[in-house]
Structure formats: structure tokens, C-alpha cells
Symmetry: C2
């Protein structure tokens, strides 16, 4: 469908598109000659000379000594140095705010957890986010953008989240109003699981060749980010892929989104913590954060505690029910599990596979991989940075004066 | 994400893209001058002259007498005559095969139902599809392509359907092998609900401006076709948006896809027919087809039968549970209900709204319209033709010798 047929391509959008294509190529392929870039992108030698000259003048890419060219001739290489630019990623969860600094390849240079957030401490948290980010910006002049990952459904045009289970305070908070113009670099906001899938796509080599990818965020809430045929699925308002509020039992537990039997009532870190309080499987779980309580459960299961193992298996089955729905709604090629609950590891993944093998259409099951996130930090906090990296690669002229 | 950055744009793909953009423009805007097309598409006068000359030579578009141009000057108009080209649409359901002939605007020139299909009559049905299509082609030289809409999950690379509840015979049938080269015109196959959403998008003026659209197919099976930001959501194998196999109760009724509590076990025409057999609400329903039985139920409800009204309300609530899942997975702007069960009309739609108002996140509910299909025939059979129309508009050189 040529739905954009009426939008004229102007000279300046064409230039920016070609600049972006060159940056993407260098980002993916590393040091490359002008000739190889021109050939891969179908651009003339004259065009590539002009585009790269401007990117060099702007300080985004630079020349490196002779590399081996075609026919064994030495040729000058071009590089987009992944360490030259830094990005701040901020992840908001119900009670957790995490702030990290990453380079273009997602390598971490710092990672900080703010103190747990309660409804009545939101103003303090916001204040300390401003302070932390400003300190990072003051100490690192290579930071060029900030990405924020927030719980869904995130209404992207309004700049706020529609529902945050058990954390109503964030509901009235407008991320765009608060942060858009607050710092010396631009700020981009995205739903957390979409940020997560972007991180997998951009930064995990096994996922980056995959055009149909899902990131299944199993944290204080449950979320889903989907890339279909190389493109993020957003929905009209940015509310797509709220798997946490898909019902697995229309007569089940009520959720504060209005629905009943929402998946996140059964296997989110919050739901698991509640189960631990009710059952007493983990001693003193009431004094712990949701994350600590889940860690304690997984630790206890790993040490052979049968009740803990049984609960992990049950949680894994619920995560599996969600997986079955992901198969039947989005038919991805790969589903990556991440965040707090995914730290249940192999025993949890086994229970997920058990359900999937029982319930998924065999042809779809056979063609799909389910795995745990392999990123070095939480996918949503790296993903927040990945949102900013994507903007940098796609719209370089928003970051640098390109003449 | 510039995931296609490495695909070089060749001269011939650029020409075909521009031809397609011109055809889309004429398809959407009707008779237009070369100047207005050039301006809207950002093409030079020389380019538009060349492109349109070739389309005229190939007989796809033609000139019409002077139209009112800019500055009140008379100018020559160009037309893509919607009546000049015909398309066959074939819809396969569990037990129904419908064949229609449509023009570019989806106007029907003929519509035929084949006799109901049973597992053991599939070979006869296939034979009669060949015969019917060949007769249509012999009698109408303006037919340029055939589209087929088949139940999902349709494995598009393999050419077959993975599961057809209660109609296992179609499972082993390969649509591409059987039909690709069988006729004098090309054949295109698509999942039925995706064909349906394409028809809504292309042919219903109220939906064609909508970039996030869902067609909720409530027939012998339950399906979903989604356009997200102007693009069809397919999934890796073509298995996306199988809402009929999304569970609404993980401990519910078993389905032959392997899952439990699949939506289509509760509100498909097949499920409704089963309920009618069990309850006896419609006399002699056992002698009817699924479609006839549903019609009889809706008719009886319209005439005031309380038991029938009660069942229609209950069915509407199940359809509504599916709608809630559509909101939370795809966040469309508009959900169009169609096929056999949608003929329950306003009382059914009222029950859907009742559930949606109870259970959907208010911000999403407020921004979304739910309505019944307004197309003159079943959306999937027109949609089958719409799949072929889309190919015609996007790849004209596959249909005509363009020099």
C-alpha cells in the first residue's frame, strides 16, 4: 500500500535520508571505504563524496588510515566511532527508576538505581532524576541525547501513561512536559517494552538479523514490544502490544485497567511478591522490594527448595500463556524474555516451553525461538538509550549542524 | 529504523514506484491533470509526461476532454477508469466458497456461492472452482487478476493454511500449487481477515483515511486483519493476528489448534450453531448450514424471541472480549466487524460496547470506533479482489507490457 504516495520528497528530506543510510551502514558494518558504501547503497561516487564530506565536517564520522580495498588497493576508510557518542537511558518502572550511560553499541559506562519510588515520593524522584542527569551531562560532554522508557500504555501524543497498576501516581505525570526541554540535549520517550525490542534489534547480533522480533518484558508490569517486518508496531496512540492487560481468563482477577484476568495479575513481579506474602515461601518478603522478593524466590528455588521450585514452575506456565497469545497475535520469529521475572532463568524458560509445546500451532512453534535476553544490562534501560541512538542515526541533522 | 538501507534502488524499481504512485493518485482522486499529479507527488513535468505516456500506451489510463485546471485554464484530464478492469475474488471458509467479480472500486458484477463443502467433497469443490473461474474469464476479457482469501493462519511462504477448525481437509491443500499457474491471469492469496481489512481501507471512504484499522472477521472462524500506521501486520510466516485462537480462558474449552479457551470456540458461526443444537432455540437448526442457523437466530431475536435475544447478547459479550484484546494488542483507531456473526446487527454491537465500556482502558476506548462493515458484499470476498487490486496498483508492469 502506497499510503504515503501524496507526500512529496523534497531535496532536504532526500539528503537527510541518504545521510542516515550512510550512518546506518557504518554503524552496522564498521570501518568501510566510500566505494563499498556507494555500492551497497546504490549511490553515485559523487553523491557519497558529498554526503561523507558533510558528515566529516560535522564531526560525526572521520577518516581512518588505509584499509584493504577492492583489487588489493589501499583505500581510505570511514568510521562512525561507537565510543565517541554517549546516550543516557532512563527506565521508569512502578517503583524503580534506573539511569545509565551507554555508547552507540550499548556498552555501559555507568548505571544507577534511584531509591524505590512510592506514590508520595514521586516529586522527590523527579527532582533526583533532574539532578542525576544534569550531573552526568556536566561530567561527560560526549552525551548527545537522552532516551526514556516508560510503562505502557504510553500515549505518545499526550506524553503520559494511561494506566500504571498499583502506582496511580505516575498516571497524572506528563513526561514530555517535564523533560522535553529540561536539558542541554534532546529527550525521547518510548514505551518500555518497545524500547527493549529496539535494544535487542540494535545491539544483540543474534536478533539484529531478525525482521520479526518480540521483547516480552516481565518486570513490575508485563509489556511487549514488537517489530513486524523491520518496523515497530505502535498502534494509533502508542498503546500497541499491551500484553500485560490481555485477559487470560475473562472471569478472572479484576485489574485496575478495568479488565479481568489480565496477565500481569498472575506473573508480574508485583503479583509474585503478593503470592510470596500470602504463602510465606520466602521469609520476610514483606520487607523487600518486588525485585528483591523475586530474586529471593529464584535463589531459594536454585538451592533446591521444593515449594519455591513449584511456584517458579507455576509462574513460568503463566508467562507461557502470554507467549501463546504472542504467537497467535504477532507470529514473531523470536521472542526474547527479559526483566525481573526472566531472572528465573532456565527452570522458568522450561515451564514456558512446556505450555508453548502443548498449546501453540505446531507450524508456528517450530519456526519460532524463545530465549532469555543476552544484553549486558536490563533491555529497557539500554533500550531507552537505543531509542535515542535510533533518532541519532535517522535524523543526524537534529543533533549536529550539517551544512 | 532504516532496515532496508542496503537495498539499492535501481532505475527500473524507481520507474515502477513512480508509475504506482501515479496510479494510486488517479485511483484515489479520480480524473486529474498532469500538473496536479506532478505537484502532489513532487515529480517534474518531464517525469510526469514520460510516466503517463507509457501508462496511456499500455492502455491502463487514458485522456479525457478538457477539465477545469488552475487559473481557470482548460487542461486535459487523465483517468484510471474503475470500470475498465475487473478482478475475481474467491473466499474460502470452512464450508463455504464464494466467488465474485468486482471492478477497481469494489462494485460487484456477479457473486456466486458454491455448494457447501464437506471434508470428502473438497476435490469436487476444487474442480468446480476451476470451472467457475474459467467460465468467468472466458466471458469477461476485462478480468486482469484473481485474489483468494483463505482462513488463517495462512503460511504465506508455503501456500497452505496451518489449522482449520472442524475442517481438517483443507489443511493439506496447497493453494499456491493448485492455483498459481492455473489461469490466464495471475493469482494472489491472502489470509481472509487481512483481505477484509484491505477492502475496508481501499473501498470504504470512512476507513480509507484511517492509518490504524482492524477488520474483525466473525464467520465460520474468527479472524483479524490489522493495518498499523498504513501497513498490514503479517507476522513472520503470515500468521499474525489470529485472534480466533487467542485464549479468553486458559482453562476453557479445548480447540483443535492445541490451545484452550480459544475465542472462536465461543462466538464463531460454528460455535453458535453448536449452541443452537444443544439448546433447541432455533427449530430444526440441525438441518441448516452454519450461516443459515445464525441467520435464523438473528431473525428470531429481531422478532422478539427472548431466548434468542438472550443468546445474541451473550454472543455479543464474547465478541466484546475479543474486542478488548484487540484494543490491548493493536490499539487500532477503528475496528470493523464483519461476516456471518456481524449480521446480528445493532443488538450484537450493543453487547460488544457494553463489554468494551466495562473493560477497556478509558483513554483507548474514547479514541476508538467500533462499527459494522458497510461494504456492499462480504468484506473477505471483496477483500480477495482488493488483494489483486492492490497488486495491480503497485506493480502495473506485472499486468501490462510497459515499454
Amino acid at each position: 500500500m502506497h499510503t504515503e504516495s501524496a507526500a512529496p520528497a523534497t531535496r532536504s528530506t532526500v539528503s537527510e535520508t541518504n545521510r542516515s543510510r550512510v550512518l546506518h551502514y557504518l554503524y552496522t558494518h564498521g570501518i568501510s571505504s566510500r566505494a563499498s558504501i556507494a555500492q551497497a547503497l546504490g549511490l553515485s561516487a559523487a553523491a557519497i563524496t558529498k554526503i561523507t564530506a558533510r558528515l566529516i565536517d560535522a564531526g560525526i564520522i572521520h577518516e581512518v588510515g588505509g584499509i584493504e580495498g577492492r583489487k588489493n588497493r589501499r583505500s581510505i576508510g570511514l568510521e562512525l566511532d561507537p565510543r565517541q557518542f554517549h546516550f543516557i537511558g532512563v527506565k521508569f518502572a512502578r517503583s524503580l527508576v534506573e539511569i545509565g550511560v551507554f555508547n552507540l553499541k550499548g556498552e555501559t559506562s555507568s548505571l544507577t538505581d534511584l531509591p524505590p519510588v512510592q506514590n508520595d515520593t514521586i516529586p522527590d524522584t523527579i527532582c533526583s532524576i533532574h539532578k542525576t542527569i544534569n550531573t552526568l551531562l556536566d561530567n561527560d560532554s560526549s552525551i548527545v541525547a537522552i532516551g526514556m522508557a516508560v510503562p505502557g500504555p504510553y500515549l505518545r501524543h499526550e506524553g503520559r501513561t494511561a494506566v500504571v497498576s498499583s502506582m496511580q501516581g505516575w498516571r497524572t505525570f506528563n513526561f514530555l512536559d517535564e523533560f522535553s526541554d529540561a536539558f542541554r540535549v534532546p529527550v525521547f520517550v518510548e514505551q518500555d517494552a518497545r524500547a527493549g525490542v529496539l535494544a535487542q534489534y540494535l545491539l544483540d547480533p543474534t536478533s539484529s538479523t531478525c525482521r520479526n522480533l518480540a521483547y516480552y518484558l516481565l518486570g513490575e508490569g508485563i509489556g511487549l514490544g514488537v517489530i513486524d517486518d523491520g518496523r515497530l508496531v505502535n498502534g494509533a496512540q502508542g498503546g500497541a502490544a499491551e500484553i500485560g492487560h490481555v485477559s487470560i481468563d475473562v472471569n478472572g482477577l479484576p485489574c485496575d485497567c478495568g479488565n479481568r484476568g489480565c496477565l500481569e495479575r498472575y506473573c508480574s513481579a508485583v503479583a509474585i511478591h503478593r503470592r510470596l506474602s500470602e504463602t510465606g515461601i520466602v521469609a520476610d518478603s514483606d520487607t523487600m522490594t518486588h525485585k528483591q522478593a523475586c530474586h529471593a524466590l529464584f535463589e531459594q528455588a536454585a538451592q533446591g527448595d521444593r515449594a519455591a521450585q513449584h511456584l517458579v514452575h507455576e509462574i513460568g506456565r503463566y508467562v507461557g500463556y502470554g507467549c501463546v497469545t504472542i504467537f497467535n497475535t504477532f507470529n514473531p520469529e523470536r521472542i526474547v524474555l527479559g526483566d525481573i521475572v526472566a531472572e528465573g532463568g532456565q527452570p522458568l524458560l522450561d515451564a514456558v516451553h512446556e505450555v508453548v509445546d502443548e498449546r501453540v500451532i505446531p507450524e508456528l512453534n517450530k519456526a519460532t525461538t524463545i530465549c532469555l535476553s543476552r544484553l549486558p544490562a536490563d533491555a529497557a534501560v539500554i533500550g531507552a538509550a537505543a531509542v535515542a541512538v535510533t533518532q541519532f542515526l535517522e535524523h543526524p541533522s537534529r543533533f549536529f549542524a550539517i551544512t
